[in-house]
Symmetry: none
Subunit: 519 residues, 2 copies
């Protein structure tokens, strides 16, 4: 059986989710990871709709992709005028992607009440828009918006819209449950009726408003769908899109259908957490397969049974999806993780590096609010500090940060730093557009004489989260800093009740790590 | 058709969820609300397992219940000795509930490898334990643990365990997908085979490890199940139990099956939020039917379509489950979004409120880094400030924030605030565990004399992001603050290159909005 095509729309439909936003840079980082997993299609955005998406496509064009084809999303052209005069269609072409995904109306109600046109004109613009993109050399996927609701209202017309898309040259027609209201047995019978009326490769795109998005996608695959659209962690407008994490795991582990290259599925949990970290949203620990709690056992009875027989309380082996079994009461060993991290960062794991000690530190720090999943440079620094020849770049003596608003003068921020480099004490001050920036600049001033390469370091991103918000003002603040120079980007972490202290910790790791790799 | 019995296990299986705990008092509050909704059975806990549950049953006995029967949960007696010598069974009796729910082993693997007994002895203790409770005057529900896995391993033995339960006197046998690994078509065919072998009222209890818990429960109802077990919001061990919120809404609104008395379903969203509040966990805004985002529309195209035709982007009317349609204000908004918001906040949209002006402000501020989609209180304040009778709560003169690290003394943060309330100038200072906390405390000190209700405001969450980090240190910082008092939670936003200024903006909106709604 052929591979099921996985079509990821985290970067487009996912960002329609309330509270989930990605910058162009974030989108590129996520796309890179999706490609590494082995996803077939990555929908990058809607080029006509905002400048952020235009930037994504421009930069994506210059990158190399292993398995993924980048797709650009847009709507059929306007009823008046043809595709050649349509700004949206032109923006799609200008995105220069190998594939375009076009959506059009299936539901007669939407054609007449929302699009305010005739049923015939709608068929015409579907066919015309697709044919135009095909003539320009693009592969085209057609998303039949509201397919299931449209089919319920008028099955003949719904099928006619698919036929128009096929005539236009769409390689796949995708059945969308846009409002997420369809139950699986309805989906099944509608797909069967559709197949009796038209034979063409089809895909499925579902939403979770009835808590059936993932299963509706799997039902469609059983009925012959060759493509599944969804998002990582099921993010998306309202209740979200179909969760690709659950879908891919169910397909490969339970339905005997492949959708990823060898080794892909084992990166699933890591990818899930990476997306949350990049978007700066709190992960849902209870997500099937990939959640931190998905294989965590709290009850004493369960834990005892697990020790007798692993299979007794888990439906698959967590390693298959890159997750791990956790016993909530007792810590599990993670020596292997630390050792592979050490190797990754070129730290020799000999007698000098206390792997168990680093592991213990990681666990203690995570318990205090640190999170090392997206902060590999901080882990690397913990390992490097274990090496016998390690010397700190500098030693902190004092710092002071001041932010002042005075009527008539506006706001300003300044910082003072006193550090020791070798035997020299350096005492510097700087103004910044904010306190962390001021601190960063004062520290650079102190170090630049000894380490001129620091001038190429840039703060690329700075993310802050309050952990356990219930504790109100006593809560721990976690800071993630992304730093880059001309050739690479690295991430560090700090955590403290004081945001400035947490920022300082992350800043110090960022500077030390940067200096250790950029000579 | 008769009512489907809803069996809630939030208080027992739900509390097996990592991060979800309830005190005995919390349990009683939740049980009261479940009863008001019209739930048939409320499983209060496992009396043998901890003193908290014992306290719950003692106090529950003295309360009056409208529709609900309280049930106590426990396991079959030990293989050696009978139920009369079994501490667990005795604790069940001592809970004095009208109903007991007993679970037993179905899967041959578990009998021999975990329970370490024989298949025959397992049948004996199932029948014996139930019969003993029946003789003591209890109604008994039997939970067949691992029913689906057990059936796959040995269908004949799995059915034998159910028959033993029926012989003992169980009124309902409940098919449990304990490990959550069963897909709906497997569940369907196993239930059909089971029905061919034994005719007795049956229920369903599912877990969400394959993201199929809710749909498996609905499949069972289609196959004739009379009872559905699950939890509010789907809390539970690992990936959670079946989410009763989705199940009850799907049953009543889409499958024509009643499970609640009249008016019950309309209390669903409130109940969902209440459970999160009592357990002090962050609500999942994207939950089907009951989540804050379940009927929220972000795209301008969607909002315009919704105003033309409500049905166009929602699968049910949100009022049916006590939720509401929300318009998310963002850069993608049109006039329609702003007018909807103004109406929501009771701001008369007359000549005094310049809708186009507010829309223009929203877009300009979003271009500068603000994000209003998660900051409704800031949008409300923009609208309120347009009203002719608007008076600011206070006027800022100066503020100063100081964070200092001194060798040997560690780190500390303090703030000074000078504001004008009416004609009075207030000048205050405070220390905090971080700069924003210090600023917040100093501002509260200044205002509390005039506005004592401010003492009930709590910082619930604080999120910071650097936008378009490519700009390095010139980047804009966006701050989102969630504030709550005893009855509500509101969100505000600020954006500036200076994190303290951005925090201050969000803090000011939070205080002003809070004071405008909390008298």
């Amino acid at each position: 059986m052929s591979l099921i095509q996985i079509y990821d729309t985290t970067l487009r439909d996912g960002t329609q989710s309330e509270g989930f936003t990605l910058s162009a840079h974030d989108k590129l980082r996520v796309a890179r990871r999706l490609d590494e997993l082995g996803i077939a299609f990555i929908e990058g955005g809607w080029p006509g709709s905002n400048p952020k998406d235009a930037e994504f496509f421009e930069r994506a064009r210059e990158m190399e992709w292993k398995t993924a084809l980048i797709t650009a999303f847009g709507s059929t052209c306007r009823v008046k005028g043809g595709p050649e005069d349509d700004a949206n269609i032109q923006a799609l072409l200008n995105a220069h992607t190998p594939v375009c995904t076009l959506f059009g109306k299936t539901w007669n109600l939407h054609v007449t009440e929302v699009l305010l046109t005739t049923l015939d004109d709608n068929l015409r613009i579907i066919e015309q828009s697709i044919a135009y993109l095909r003539a320009a050399g693009r592969r085209v996927i057609y998303d039949a918006e509201h397919f299931f609701d449209g089919f319920k209202a008028d099955p003949v017309y719904a099928v006619e819209t698919l036929k128009a898309a096929v005539r236009g040259g769409a390689e796949t027609v995708v059945l969308c449950d846009t409002n997420g209201g369809t139950l699986p047995w309805e989906a099944e019978s509608i797909i069967r009726e559709m197949k009796a009326a038209i034979q063409h490769p089809f895909g499925i795109h579902t939403h979770n408003d009835s808590e059936c998005a993932a299963i509706n996608a799997l039902i469609a695959v059983r009925e012959g769908a060759t493509q599944v659209q969804g998002t990582i962690n099921g993010v998306g407008e309202r209740c979200g899109n179909a969760n690709l994490c659950s879908i891919m795991a169910n397909l490969e582990l339970k339905m005997g259908r492949r959708c990823l290259p060898d080794g892909g599925l084992e990166k699933l949990s890591e990818l899930s957490h990476f997306v949350d970290e990049v978007a700066n949203v709190t992960p849902n620990d209870h997500l099937p397969y990939v959640g931190k709690s998905a294989f965590a056992h709290k009850g004493g009875v369960h834990v005892a049974a697990m020790r007798r027989c692993e299979q007794s309380y888990q439906h698959v082996a967590p390693e298959q999806v890159g997750n791990k079994m956790r016993v909530v009461v007792s810590a599990l060993s993670g020596r292997a993780n630390i050792i592979s991290k050490a190797e990754e960062h070129g730290v020799a794991v000999g007698s000098a590096v206390d792997v168990a000690g680093v592991l213990k530190d990681v666990k203690e720090l995570e318990a205090r609010g640190f999170s090392f999943e997206a902060a590999e440079a901080s882990v690397a620094m913990m390992l490097k500090r274990q090496q016998p020849d390690y010397k700190p770049v500098f030693e902190l003596i004092d710092f002071l940060v001041n932010v002042e608003h005075r009527q008539g003068r506006g706001i300003f921020a300044e910082a003072m730093v006193k550090v020791k480099v070798g035997d020299e004490v350096l005492h510097t001050a700087a103004e910044g557009n904010g306190p962390v920036n001021a601190l960063d600049l004062a520290l650079r001033k102190a170090l630049i004489g000894h380490y001129p390469q620091i001038s190429a370091f840039n703060l690329a991103d700075y993310k802050v989260r309050i952990l356990d918000g219930q504790n109100g003002t006593d809560a721990i603040t976690r800071v993630l800093i992304d730093t880059r120079n001309t050739t690479r980007l690295w991430s560090t972490v700090g955590a403290s009740a004081n945001i400035i202290e947490a920022s300082w910790q992350a800043l110090v790791d960022a500077v030390e790590y940067g200096l250790s790799v950029a000579h």
